[in-house]
Structures are given as structure tokens and as C-alpha cells.
Subunit: 360 residues, 2 copies
């Protein structure tokens, strides 16, 4: 066509690829597909719902990749659903080997496909040489671990690999057998594992963990990181985790807000408050939520904003930002502490909307 070839975005072809999964066929489905995505939802006659359409399009795109798709009626087949580990109506559960992972991302075909392509990869990625080391170092906005081991037969490596399967693909696990470049430059001793929080320069070290359980326990303890980017493929998990035992602090920033991000990194690095968890949100990653957020939080998202949001009732407090320079890390930290002390976990007022005078 006039638009040129090589850009054929998929259009639903109308073929039904998503299969009802029942006590009769669930074993066969699990055996047949290296990766199986199951939607926990009571099937019903009539036109397909939005969720099912997303699943069908993902199934069409991933048809040759060994990913199967099914719907489980967890009401009718309650025993099977329980045995499979399905808990939440409307959620998607992904099976690979003997692991089940709940999909915690946006229900959109592109995000789901990206997630499933990640699931298809091995949970541990290997790093060798300068080039791959730099690629590893460039990963800033995801939590990551790296371990240095003798070889694949090492019991330490095997514990690491077993732990990785439980966090894949939400946490990235890297391993190296390269003593000359990678281990040397990262100053890793044999069997040492390092964990990097997103945006942090200095890693935390796990020493000689020879069992999966030790690594899992360490990660569970440290996973609620200080500064985190909200991403479509892990939106719900990140949003709720940040709000876990205190109020979260979503920061919303337009694409030109990188300078503000640097300030937040400073706040995060100097921070000693274990309850303080900052979310960095680039609204361009969530266009469908921009009008909703602006309405819910009474803010204008064409400029960087920082605020404290209560995820239980969506009340929020937002820092007043002048037209001139952005506040420094100290100012932000002070403001955050004042809000947390004053309003506590339930901010119940919001600042006056600033007038949008960008265009004057």
C-alpha cells in the first residue's frame, strides 16, 4: 500500500485462539505450551469483552512463539482454579515450567505481548566482556541482581537460577563466569551476589547464598525500593507495593522532566526513611490515564509535579512549584517529611490548582 511494506500492525483476524480451560483439558494445555496465559474469568455467551479481545490479539501475534491462551471459569471449576493458584477474578496468570506468575501490567495487547516475550526468555541472563558489562550498567530503572560463579554446575549458581525463576521477569537476574572483565570491574568475589535498586549507584551485597531461600528472603526484604519508575508491564504491582505500609509518593513528570528526576535520585540516595518510597511516572507511558489523573488529583500534567497520594481513597497533596527553578533535593525532602508527619498516611486535602500560564 501507499504506507510502504514492513509495518503490518496486527488486525484481529476473527479466529478464536483463546480456549476454555477445564478440568478435562488443563493438563494437556500445560504440557502443550512452554508458556500458558490463563485469564481467570467466567466465560459468557455474546460478543467478547475487552479483556478477551486483548487476549485474542496477543494470541494471534504470539501464535508461532509457543504461548497458549485460555480462560478459566473459577466459579464453576473452583477446585482446579485453586490447584492452579488462581486467586483474583479478572487477572491473568502465566505458567512456565512449575512457576505461576500473576500478570500485573496494563491490560493492553502490546504490553501483554512484551511481558510474555520476556517470560519466554531464560530467567538468568549471562554477561561476558566489556560490551555486555556496559549494557548491564546502563539498566537504571529496573531492579537487578548480578552474581559471579565458577560455572553452571556450581551449587551457588543453581540456587541463584532457582531464585530467579520466582521473580522473572519482574526482577532481572544476571550471572557471569567471566573473572577477567566482569567480576574484576564490578569487584565481585566468587559466589558473591549484588542487588541494585533502581537508580541507585551502590549495590547491596548478598554473601555466598547457597540456597534459593536465602536469596528469596533477601529480595522480599529489599524489594520495596526507594525510587521506582512506574511501567505499563508492572503497573499494579509497583503502585501497590509503593503504597504497602505507608503512603506512596507518585511523582508525575512530563518528558522534559529529566532534571527533576535527578533531584529525586538525590532525595532517594540521601533518604534514611524506610517508609519513603518514590514512584517516578512519565505520563507519556500512560496516555490513557492522563485525563483521568488530572481529574482525580486536580493537577496539570503538562509540567513536573510531586505529590503524596493515598492509594486507598486517592486523596492527594501536591507540592507548590513556582514558574522559575525547580526545588532542590533538600526542599523536596523537607516538604515530603512535613506532609508525612502532618497529614500522616491519609492526606485529605489537595493544594490549589496552579494556573497553567505556560502560554502567556
Amino acid at each position: 500500500g501507499a504506507a510502504g511494506q514492513g509495518l503490518d500492525f496486527p488486525i484481529p483476524d476473527g479466529r478464536a485462539r483463546v480456549v476454555p480451560v477445564t478440568p478435562q483439558n488443563h493438563r494437556e494445555m500445560l504440557q502443550r505450551f512452554p508458556v500458558l496465559a490463563l485469564l481467570d474469568r467466567r466465560p459468557r455467551p455474546g460478543p467478547p469483552r475487552a479483556q478477551e479481545q486483548v487476549l485474542e490479539l496477543a494470541a494471534q501475534v504470539l501464535e508461532d512463539k509457543g504461548v497458549g491462551f485460555g480462560i478459566v471459569d473459577a466459579e464453576k471449576d473452583a477446585d482446579m482454579a485453586k490447584k492452579l493458584g488462581l486467586k483474583e477474578e479478572g487477572s491473568i496468570y502465566v505458567f512456565k515450567g512449575d512457576k505461576v506468575t500473576k500478570y500485573d501490567g496494563e491490560l493492553a495487547a502490546d504490553t501483554l505481548v512484551e511481558f510474555l516475550l520476556d517470560v519466554l526468555e531464560d530467567p538468568v541472563e549471562f554477561i561476558e566482556g566489556d560490551h555486555e558489562l556496559r549494557a548491564f550498567e546502563n539498566i537504571e530503572d529496573d531492579p537487578k541482581l548480578i552474581g559471579y560463579f565458577k560455572d553452571r554446575d556450581s551449587e551457588y549458581f543453581q540456587a541463584f537460577e532457582a531464585a530467579a525463576a520466582g521473580f522473572h521477569p519482574y526482577v532481572s537476574f544476571f550471572a557471569t563466569f567471566d573473572s577477567k572483565v566482569v567480576a574484576k570491574k564490578l569487584d565481585l568475589r566468587l559466589n558473591e551476589i549484588e542487588f541494585y535498586e533502581p537508580f541507585m549507584e551502590e549495590p547491596l551485597t548478598i554473601l555466598w547464598a547457597s540456597s534459593r531461600e536465602e536469596i528469596v528472603a533477601f529480595l522480599e526484604e529489599h524489594r520495596r525500593t526507594t525510587l521506582r519508575k512506574l511501567k505499563p508491564e508492572s503497573t499494579y504491582e509497583t503502585w501497590v507495593r509503593a503504597g504497602g505500609d505507608g503512603a506512596p509518593h507518585p511523582h508525575m513528570s512530563p518528558p522534559d522532566g529529566f532534571e527533576f528526576l535527578d533531584i529525586l535520585k538525590d532525595v532517594a540516595r540521601d533518604n534514611n526513611n524506610p517508609d519513603l518510597s518514590i514512584l517516578w511516572i512519565d505520563p507519556d507511558d500512560f496516555p490513557l490515564l492522563i485525563p483521568y489523573w488530572e481529574k482525580t488529583f486536580h493537577i496539570d500534567l503538562s509540567r513536573p509535579r510531586i505529590g503524596v497520594v493515598n492509594v486507598t481513597d486517592t486523596t492527594s497533596v501536591w507540592m507548590e512549584l513556582g514558574d522559575e527553578d525547580l526545588p532542590g533535593p533538600d526542599e523536596v525532602q523537607e516538604w515530603l517529611e512535613a506532609v508525612l508527619e502532618g497529614a500522616g498516611d491519609t492526606p485529605d486535602h489537595h493544594s490549589e490548582d496552579e494556573e497553567d500560564d505556560d502560554d502567556d
Copy 2:
């Protein structure tokens, strides 16, 4: 719910907001909505098609933003369609003031909403002070212009603003009246306009353009840039423009391919071949196309790749990349020139697929 509040992704509510636009109501629609998006498509009874569902969801999200949505039957109402400037069946045309812009992005609700939110903004953005100057300088992957003018009444500024409306939002136009910081640091004289190609450090200068036509002519001449990132909101335009009068050179790179991007920047900056246009594609921006591209081009997209693609028949040639270090800019340039001289515009073979031995 258990997922926390504040993350309500829109679910189609079933209300029809997309209106059939006819000779009887089109004037009223254009007057009523500051921005109007029209799909050129013969309406038909029965369940809505994928395109219409995308439009409906976008309409639902943008309901309070002053964006209207309609469908034009360009067969039945051919005269009106012609008068409105609709040319291509299946395309979306966006009306703002007396300007029509064809939407050249992926047909997905999130990308369309992002595009329309951009259209709602003014075509010229103003830059003042250090902070905004740095934000301007950080924009690397989009083409951008900046002009320094006395004030809004300047005829030079008015020509600039008139030109901006015709390229908005595909090309970013910035203006400054700030002589002390912005004009001084960018070394801009009064009424001077500078054009930055994506990824280029040195701008091209347009001197004292006092008419819209001069600026438009300059941009039309220089818009086919040497290195460009493929983006969901301008996919088709970029893909075809790159392939305009020679073969394009899509480069596909995984997220860890930033080092490869640096090499491509060097190739682009040293390049003297006006027919050479390089596309940088981050496959993570196009998850729905990954399996399709891998199949069409016989490549593995889990590693950086560079190739020459014929957009007419999707034949392609890909550079052999070893497991070790990436090729340098000279090697890439040499390889590209050999391909362009040898196979010309119609590469008709592809290299052997490399085995994916990442995991060994």
C-alpha cells in the same frame, strides 16, 4: 479493589461517542470541537471494527478535553470528503483551526490519545531561563526548531508561528524572547532560527525568515533526516519518508543497544551521502511487531541488528554481527556503502540467520 485506587485504566463503557459526519452536520462539528478527528471509512452495520473501537475508546478518554470524533463515508459523501482534504481510506484526519493533519501513527488508543493531547497544545512552545533551556537541549530524538524574536508582535515570530501550525505536532517549534539566558547560550541573533536534526549536535541555521513559506520550504528540504527514531505516533510517516528516494536502513536494537546507537550517531554525523537515512528502532516500542519482523526479515531481535530494507517488497540484507564487540562506525559505514552500491535499492537476499547462542 485489591489493586489500589488511582490506576483506573479505561474500559469501554459501551456508549457510542463517534458520530457519522455528513454534509448536513460537518460545519457544526468543526465549530463545536477545538480538535476534531475524522476517520475516512464507510460506516457499516453490525459489530464495530477494530478501527472504530480504537476511536471510541479514545473518544471516551478525551471526552472532557474538547476533542470530537467522527466517521466520514468518503464514497457516499465524496464532495465533502474532498473539500475536507480526506484522501486515504482507513486514515484518520485531525482538524484544528484551519489546519488538517493526517495521523500517521499506530492505530492504538494510547498512541492516538497521546497524539491528540499533543495536537491540543499550542504549536509553539516558549523557552525561558536555564531550566527550560536544558529541557530543550535534552530533546534528542525528535526534529526541533528554535527561534529568537523580540516579542509576539514581531513579524518574524508570526511567520514562525504560522509555519509551526503546519508541522505540529510532528516537528517541535520552540521560541524564545529571552536575550539574557537562552539566546546568549545558544548564540542566537535576533530573528535567527535554528533547526536540529534528531541526534545531531550542530544545528542548521535559517537566517531572518520573514515569511511562513521560507520556513516551510527549508523544512521540506531538510526534513528527511540522517538518523531518526521510529516512534508509534509517527510510524508510517517516518518509515515511508526514510524510504523516500532510496532504500531505508532500519536498525533494530534491543533496550541494551544504546552503545550501538552511539555508533550510529557517529555514522550519521560523518555521513555525506544525502540518500542515506537511518532508522533507529527499539523493538520494545513495538511489541506487536516483533514476531512479525523476525519472520519477515528472518532475524533474531533479542540482539542489536543493522540492515537495509526495501520497503516496497520487504527484502532485506543484514550485517553479520559477531558475538564479541560491535562493529565500529567505519565498519558500519563501509558495509552500508557496499550494500547500497552492490544490491542497489533492491536487496534480494538476506544473510544466514545467526544462531541464538546467548544461553550457552
